[in-house]
Amino acid sequence: MYDKEQPILTIKNLRKQFGKGCTICRDLDDKNIQKNFCPVCQTVYACRDVSFELYPAEILGVVGESGSGKSTLMKCLYFDQDVTSGEAYIQGYKNSNANIFTETSQQKKYIRNHLFGMVYQNPYLGLRMNFSSVGNIAEKLIGAGSRNVGFMTGRAQELLGNVNIPIYRMKEAPKNFSGGMQQRVQIAKALSNNPPILLLDEVTTGLDLSVQANVLDLIKKIQRDLKISMLVVSHDLSVIRILADRTIVMLNGKIIEQGLTDQILEDPQHPYTQQLVHSLL
């Protein structure tokens, strides 16, 4: 369905800043800003000229310390936040030449519901905690235009079964679930429309080791079975080592290094990446 030689998602010069900037920080070349905020006007430069490509059936890892812009990148891609500038193209969407960041809000809704699945670090952002788990999954299907209760219930049961939610708890609200179960419901929800691209933002943070392993196995299995492209954000290099084919390293809103995951982990070039890899327990 997708051309494996061409990227499914292309990001060009994505910038996201919080604040208007001042003459001092605007005149400085990005390389000269050592931190991602301006000490004069306090503008935060969360993402600075982020460019990368994600290929079909590939898992691309994004690592970096807290505040390096990883989650902001994900939120921009999922239209939770507006970008300051930049371009993004999806293979097959409007002949692959429509910048999705400048689309209308209705088109963005279409992209969210049909082309992206998102798993947030905090399940409270991705789920309606007072609605049933089946309802949470139906929400995504309703957004994509389904109006058939039988179909939506069947699909939800299938997906929740796949992520090991017991059938007798499917009508229960996620607020009654453990953190791991909530993450699994989020994953099921994200997969409900068979999106070609899955965005995973720190999915294992806050989970204990055994639950982490379950969630990681599940993600691997989904990728193997469904051949979905995934963008996995984590500050945990072990997660990236297990999941990602390629990895990009972010620092202060910029990509400082990218390459094959093994290459990054075995032979890091940038001093920050070296420090990160050496601090791996």
Partner: protein, 280 residues
């Protein structure tokens, strides 16, 4: 009450409300904000409907005010008194005689005509309010025609109760554009909104919104493909007083025998049938 202006309001206020009303008619189902006035009745007791009525009433009008189908309820009587005292227009209990009908929770049983206006009192005009507390966001959702939330709410009710289980205020899609809360009329009355010959205006005083269903406008009750919209079944219920069938009934308990019985909810309709003024 000579000290009051005709229809209570000053002319500027009437004009402002009429302007909002015209905009509402031009955009069927769209909630038009208006400067809801302080009224001599408490907010939540029909001030939205009352403001619409007072802004529209003319000297030749005949008004009818009903509350849950009854002309004699305290709320209806007080609203009627205020209108009467400040306008001196004629009152009526007969639906077909009235030119302006203000109602809470019901659409009369007798089909309305083109020369009539129905004003409905609305407590919560925003159909998305249950799932989205922010007015700013609901406005955006309406603008984007993004009604997933309301469908999800109906879906959840099916999951919980096995049916959509909206006792009243079942959301409707007006003119294939805006989803609208039809005020808490029973589902039984929803079909009366569709292609209604009369102009239907809805006013929410507390929430400061006016919206409208102009005559001959398509109004669809939201329903899933495999869970069609169903109204309350009144076919097997017979009014104990007038013997009517197929109209909206109140369920009552006989204090002595403890037996259930039914009575027409629309009191004037029942009375007219009893007086043989409407064909049985």
């Amino acid at each position: 009450m000579k000290s009051y202006n005709f229809a209570f309001f000053d002319e500027g206020s009437k004009r402002e409300i009429r302007r909002a009303t015209l905009k509402a008619i031009a955009l069927p189902g769209y909630q038009v904000p208006f400067a809801s006035r302080e009224m001599p009745i408490a907010r939540g007791w029909g001030t939205g409907g009352l403001q619409l009525t007072l802004s529209l009433v003319g000297k030749d009008d005949k008004i009818k005010v009903i509350d849950q189908g009854a002309d004699e309820s305290v709320n209806a009587v007080n609203i009627k008194k205020l209108i009467k005292n400040t306008t001196d227009v004629e009152e009526t209990e007969f639906t077909e005689e009235a030119t302006l009908i203000q109602s809470r929770h019901r659409i009369p049983e007798i089909e309305l005509r083109e020369d009539q206006i129905l004003v409905l009192q609305v407590p919560i005009p925003e159909p998305l309010r249950e799932i989205e507390p922010s007015e700013y966001i609901t406005k955006r959702l309406h603008a984007d025609k993004e009604y997933s939330g309301i469908w999800l709410m109906l879906f959840e009710r099916i999951m919980k109760h096995g049916s959509m289980a909206t006792g009243a205020d079942h959301p409707v899609l007006v003119n294939n554009r805006y989803v609208m809360a039809p005020s808490p009329i029973p589902r039984f009355d929803n079909h009366k909104l569709n292609n209604s010959k009369a102009l239907i205006l809805l006013g929410a005083g507390r929430e400061k919104k006016i919206y409208a269903v102009p005559p001959y406008t398509e109004v669809q009750s939201l329903a899933f493909e495999d869970y069609p919209f169903e109204v309350e079944n009144m076919d097997d219920k017979v009014c104990r007083l007038c013997g009517a069938r197929g109209v909206f009934m109140d369920e009552l308990i006989d204090e002595e025998t403890k037996e259930k019985y039914y009575q027409c909810n629309d009191v004037s309709y029942c009375l007219q049938r009893l007086n043989n003024e409407i064909a049985n």
